[in-house]
Amino acid sequence: MSIQTIADVEFGAELPTFEPDTSLAACGAFANAVGWPSGRFDDHEAARKQGLPGALVPGIMGLGFLTTTIHNWSANARVVNIDTVFRAPMLADTPAIIGAVVTDIDEDEGIVELDMTIKNEADETRVFGTAKVSLPLE
């Protein structure tokens, strides 16, 4: 169902998700754009030499995946606040499985609250968080 206004939102609804690109090239490009050093995000061997399990998806790239999930859900949604906890590293080159569910709806203010997660293939939560999203009243 297309979400245009706050009236279209149902409590407990799960947002459609997408498969983000966690390739070494994508993680490296993201890290480079925000001024972070190469190696840790685009080279498994270099990352292991730093004591990491492999190259990582930058934490704020995960926040970007969650924001995109919200924007894809509704063309009218505006992220007012998004708060993420980096529980464990996300490995580059592995699937990042996004989950998002509506946990509160304020129909007077046009605000939706979401619980969001990013899990790995082993169903382990790597990132979790909440978001407040504004939608038109009409």
Binding site: D21, L63, G64, T67, V79
Partner: protein
């Protein structure tokens, strides 16, 4: 103060005091890369010709990756880890216009578990435009696992 830091003391001494101010001019190509690598397709984040072209929340978080602690903040003994990020968007953040980010500590608290105590520090950067309009707030949550006493 390597161990057993007094959180109340730290709060009294450091909370709500601006310790860093930094000027920014957002680079269009870098903003676009961050949006695209995040999977973003909304034109206000991916099309520089869009009338509301703006930086996405993830890019705003990256601006806070400079100095996170006041210069006189004590060493707590453990290695700081990135515990998470939050961003609140008050208004679209434009590209190519002068911005200033002012940072203070918004919270210091601890959590205790079987493996010891962790101290959590929230560094808050408030982002303003050239007219001093508050555009966005980013929180960077640092986690420091206190070293056990020798």
């Amino acid at each position: 103060m390597a161990n057993s830091a007094d959180v109340e003391e730290l709060r009294d001494q450091f909370l709500e005091q601006e310790f860093d101010s930094k000027d920014f001019l957002l680079d269009q190509d870098k903003v676009l890369t961050v949006a695209q690598m995040s999977g973003e397709t909304r034109p206000e984040f991916t099309d520089p010709e869009h009338p509301e072209f703006q930086a996405p929340p993830a890019f705003l978080c990256s601006l806070a990756s400079g100095r996170h602690l006041p210069i006189d903040f004590p060493r707590l003994g453990g290695i700081p880890m990135d515990g998470g990020k939050a961003v609140t968007v008050h208004a679209p953040v434009p590209i190519g216009e002068p911005l200033v980010g002012k940072t203070h500590l918004a919270d210091i608290y601890d959590k205790k578990g079987r493996s010891g105590r962790m101290i959590l520090i929230v560094a808050r950067m408030e982002l303003y435009d050239g007219q001093d309009k508050h555009l966005a707030t980013t929180d960077s949550r640092m986690v420091i696992r206190e070293k056990p006493a020798a």
